[in-house]
Assembly symmetry: C2
Homo-oligomer: 384 residues x 2
């Protein structure tokens, strides 16, 4: 397999984007990535689109976007793995380059979520659970994660304060990220007085549906070095699945797919968790970030709450986590999120994040979850 590097990135503003169609969101970040890579776009051999199609009025979005970008007749198709669809596109694209089938490819994560009413979105999301045995009984995503939070509180002594610490940290950094949906800091009272969604999770424990797009240009090692002197290498990939059904989970205090995906990615990159300097993890709910730092081995099992509350995941702490605001403050346009995470890590490793920059960042990681861990992708990035 050939080594694969990121040579260009693009990232649009997340949030309500009624100023742009899906194709326009894609074009905006495509143009930015092509300029960033400083390549002739005709060199792009194929495109993979991470998106969850049922939120869009437009069908067959991969082909429509490829046409809009002017990249036909080159191949494209869509990858879907719920909220990890963007990472599925990245994995597909990486494999095409590593195999030798392609030399330079585009990975696009894009999603419009504001075309549908909130009730329709909730219905769609609930049906990620088994429609025959589970979602018919009214299960929702906040409900699933509330179960995880309750179990974690009971077993490990995680507190309301720990959950709030995640929300406050991520809003602090979202305020510094010009592409984030929410750019205001919040205090403990704001979180704890917010409306209860699914006990113990409140509105400020939950990320928000958003429109948005992000993209990457990948190249095989030889071509990457010719094109760029600041290549970030995607050296470790992990992906695993777990039952969606909570009835089939042995333990609600971990996502087993995340543990397995992390094991694969660390082994492939040849690193230990302690070597990771900066990570973007899937904080769809505050409890999810606590599970993530434990599943990824950044702290001991059960210690995610105190670890985060003590500031160890802020810039200057042991490892910087979600210093772009995370899903929580940056927003969560589901198909775009995995690619957005990768863009952030690339920029951190290139030292371009200004007042959010993690100094000495040489190894970075993304952790992108689909469903409630039905899918998990973990990727390790490195600069030389």
């Amino acid at each position: 397999m050939r080594r694969v590097g990121v040579i260009g990135v693009g990232h649009g503003r997340f949030g309500l984007r009624d100023d742009a169609s899906l194709q326009e969101l894609a074009f905006e970040v495509y143009r930015e990535a092509v300029a960033d890579a400083a390549i002739d776009p005709q060199e792009i051999g194929a495109t993979w689109i991470g998106s969850v199609p049922e939120y869009h009025k437009q069908r067959s979005v991969a082909g429509v976007i490829q046409e809009y970008l002017g990249l036909d007749p080159r191949p494209t198709w869509l990858t879907e793995a719920a909220c990890a669809s963007g990472s599925a596109a990245l994995h597909t694209a990486w494999t095409a380059v590593a195999s030798g089938m392609q030399d330079v490819v585009l990975v696009m994560g894009c999603q419009k979520m504001t075309e549908l009413e909130t009730a329709a979105i909730l219905g769609l999301m609930g049906r990620v659970g088994d429609v025959q045995w589970e979602s018919v009984f009214g299960s929702t995503f906040p409900g699933y994660y509330a179960l995880f939070a309750r179990q974690h509180m009971d077993r490990h002594g995680t507190t309301r304060d720990h959950l709030s610490a995640v929300a406050m940290k991520n809003h602090d950094y979202g305020a510094l990220n010009p592409k984030a949906m929410f750019r205001k800091t919040i205090d403990r009272q704001k979180v704890e007085n917010s409306k209860l969604v699914a006990d113990p999770l409140r509105v400020f424990d939950c990320c928000a549906n958003a429109d948005g797009a992000a993209c990457l240009i990948l190249a095989a090692e030889g071509r990457a070095r010719e094109i760029s002197d600041r290549v970030v290498w995607l050296d470790g990939l992990g992906v695993a699945t777990a039952p969606m059904s909570v009835l089939r989970r042995e333990d609600l205090c971990t996502l087993p797919s995340a543990v397995e995906a992390a094991r694969q990615a660390y082994a492939m990159a040849g690193i230990e968790p302690s070597q990771v300097r900066v990570a973007d993890v899937h904080d769809c709910f505050t409890i999810a970030e606590i599970l993530a730092v434990e599943d990824l081995g950044f702290c001991d099992r059960g210690q995610g709450g105190p670890f985060i509350a003590a500031g160890e995941t802020r810039i200057g702490g042991r490892i910087a986590v979600n210093v772009d605001g995370g899903l929580k403050a940056k927003g969560h346009p589901i198909g775009a999120t995995g690619v957005s995470m990768a863009v952030e890590i690339v920029r951190q490793l290139r030292g371009e994040c200004e007042d959010r920059q993690v100094s000495g960042a040489d190894v970075g990681l993304t952790h992108n979850v689909g469903g409630i861990g039905q899918y998990c992708f973990v990727n390790v990035f490195r600069r030389e």
Copy 2:
């Protein structure tokens, strides 16, 4: 890149399958393929699911199917390229094995189309066209292909009889295929007296929505040879895109994506079109099979109608095309179709097709179109 072979196949009955959920359709063909390959299913390292998700009540179907098959924690995700989604899964899986990331993988094409009302399906299909500029004006798939048929008639002298010859041939072979949706032969009167859908296309010029599933097990060369002595090799892959918008097509008598995908697949396999003995092509409408045999170079440009009407694409003719009944008589469960085509070609090359067997079949081809050629995948299979 490593050579990749097919070591196991499974194919369910296509048609109205209200006897089975989507997961059950998948399990039925999975069990058959595992038995066919005679492997321990735990050897399967990953699964790719070709499906168009918006037709299903169930969301996130890849993970749900992986759980149902008992294959978690292994990776899976969904690929979508409209009616070529199954071929997108096959291409993804092939690349993972060729690259060395995986040794043995499962490719599943599956689709339930009968959960929705016909009107809802028509609406979904229309929205494959650009929703901002095209589908809003009422374009439908029969309408698009009717334009192609009219242009072909005007330019090349293609006739009503030529279209009918495609339908009659495919129903003749569908009658011999126990997995086909329609197992009755039809005569010229039946086609020509059927209801007009979009002039000149009548009901019997159109394939039917269906439920169904098909699957393949792929392995890298070394492992494939250990497992099986009747491996069919996937030696040539091609994939290309074209604008969905007919306004951006220079010529309505060809699918440019098919021409380009065929060029790639022939070059990669190192063969000429004349070496292909058996092909499954995308006859979503009768005119589409005429375009296909021309785009694939099986006959001269403009001669597809007379070529088919003269029996050259029947068993015993120059090249056997859609002798499983094609989409027309076998049915078209959109996500499953590309995989179904591959299963048929594998069985033909293994000599297992009984009264539909093409004698001496050593090279076979699949041609799977998404949209109106927005995507096209062409694959070349070979036995030693």
